[in-house]
């Protein structure tokens, strides 16, 4: 298994804007060189103000997402309130570390808006949280996307500008990475709404 994180392929990216956040992912689900499907969901809306993006082994993407859904639903019911994005970010770290010696093969990105303020956190597969940057990447095309982000990104972009920038970064990155691509999806979250846009990438 040369690279359990590379088996299914896929890339994700998250960015902070002015009172908004954006998350983007590719749509490929592959098994090494073969492409199985071109509509696999990798970004999930956990709550009205929280998005969770996952890259890595697709099986674990789904399982980890289901686990987080369960946690937040139970939390909402028990505590009778919404979960704060920073709390969810900590929960993801705890949940990953709980499986320290049999980890989920995922590298998540959490993005959200807490009282209007953008929150972005990324993790390694065992829960090391990093929330210091304005944009973060994950997955097999991650490094290629980094290059594009560094070129296009500016702080305090508006939702429309952010959508452009994150879309372009994702597409540039995925077009270079053979294991990512077959379309892209961009999510932009503001206080008022969540917009979802489907992008076309190089069809290879």
């Amino acid at each position: 298994m040369s690279g359990i994180f590379e088996y299914n392929g896929g890339s994700i990216v998250g960015m902070k804007g002015k009172n908004c956040i954006a998350m983007a992912c590719d749509r490929r689900f592959g098994q090494q060189m073969s492409t199985i499907t071109t509509n696999y969901q990798k970004v999930f809306k956990i709550q009205d103000n929280i998005l969770l993006a996952l890259s890595g082994l697709n099986s674990d993407i789904h399982t980890f997402y289901a686990l987080m859904e369960k946690e937040i639903n139970l939390y909402n019911l028990k505590e009778n309130r919404k979960m704060k994005p920073t709390t969810f970010a900590n929960l993801v770290a705890s949940a990953l570390y709980e499986r320290r010696f049999g980890p989920f093969f995922v590298t998540p990105i959490v993005a959200g808006l807490e009282n209007g303020k953008p929150i972005l956190a990324t993790y390694d597969s065992i829960g090391c949280k990093s929330d210091l940057d304005d944009f973060q990447v994950g997955g097999t095309g991650g490094n290629y996307i980094y290059g594009a982000c560094e070129a296009f990104f500016k702080p305090d972009l508006s939702p429309e500008e952010l959508e452009e920038v994150i879309g372009q970064s994702l597409v540039s990155g995925c077009d270079r990475d053979s294991l990512s691509g077959w379309g892209g999806v961009v999510y932009v979250l503001t206080e008022q709404k969540l917009t979802v846009k489907i992008l076309k990438t190089k069809q290879t």
Partner: protein
């Protein structure tokens, strides 16, 4: 370790062990809690059986976390055990969410432990009613937790020996606009009403939390000042 339940229903639908536990609470030293607009105060009797007892070694108000504390009426050792369990619950929550636990959440989780003792085989209910006071993001809270596992939020309440008289006194004195300093005075006055003998800074314990979210157990010198103000 027995396999059968010790707390079972009577034909009238009562759980007598819980009733008896409440009797134990009713015999315990009085504890009073008042929630003000900007804080909560806990006041508890600390009657010692003999003048030989080292008063400072007895702690009836337990800090559960920086912004939540509890006191009790009933069996001291049972309170000690529940305080420790509560502290662990706080830490468990903290490790998972890295966030300050809400008073209501802590009360609910601790209440589950208390309820388990009324149903699990081989163990008896806890012989304490606990008053939990805290200040969290939602504001000031005062919660009473009974041996049955039931918990109630109060504006002001009393538990223990003088509970009935103290609550009647509080009903007259309480008003929703109370500030924490008024609440402290009212709580002390209420305790003084039914106090057997002379109230002193060392035979009561006072704990206060204000909107700075820090719970403080007042040293005898400060308690002395408040008591003198009552005169």
């Amino acid at each position: 370790m027995t396999d059968f339940a010790l707390t079972t229903f009577s034909s009238k639908g009562k759980l007598l062990q819980i009733e008896y536990a409440l009797n134990a609470v009713a015999k315990g030293d009085t504890a009073i809690g008042i929630k003000a607009k900007n804080g909560v105060v806990l006041v508890v009797e600390k009657k010692q059986s003999s003048i030989l007892v080292e008063e400072s070694s007895v702690q009836k108000v337990s800090l559960l976390t920086d912004n939540i504390a509890a006191t009790y009426a009933g069996l001291g050792p049972d309170f000690r055990v529940l305080s420790q369990q509560a502290r662990k619950l706080v830490k468990k929550y903290d490790l998972k969410y890295q966030e300050e636990i809400f008073v209501q959440t802590l009360s609910r989780e601790l209440a589950e432990d208390v309820q388990v003792a009324t149903q699990r085989g081989g163990i008896r209910p806890f012989g304490v009613s606990i008053l939990i006071a805290g200040y969290d993001e939602e504001g000031p809270h005062l919660v009473q937790l009974d041996p049955s596992g039931a918990y109630y939020s109060w504006k002001a309440t009393a538990i223990g020996k003088q509970a009935k008289n103290a609550k009647a006194f509080l009903e007259k004195r309480y008003n929703a606009d109370m500030e924490i300093e008024d609440a402290i005075n009212t709580a002390l006055l209420t305790l003084k009403e039914g106090f057997e003998g002379q109230i002193t800074p060392t035979n009561i314990e006072v704990g206060v939390i204000r909107d700075d979210h820090v719970f403080r157990i007042l040293p005898p010198s400060q308690v002395k000042d408040y008591l003198e103000e009552l005169e």
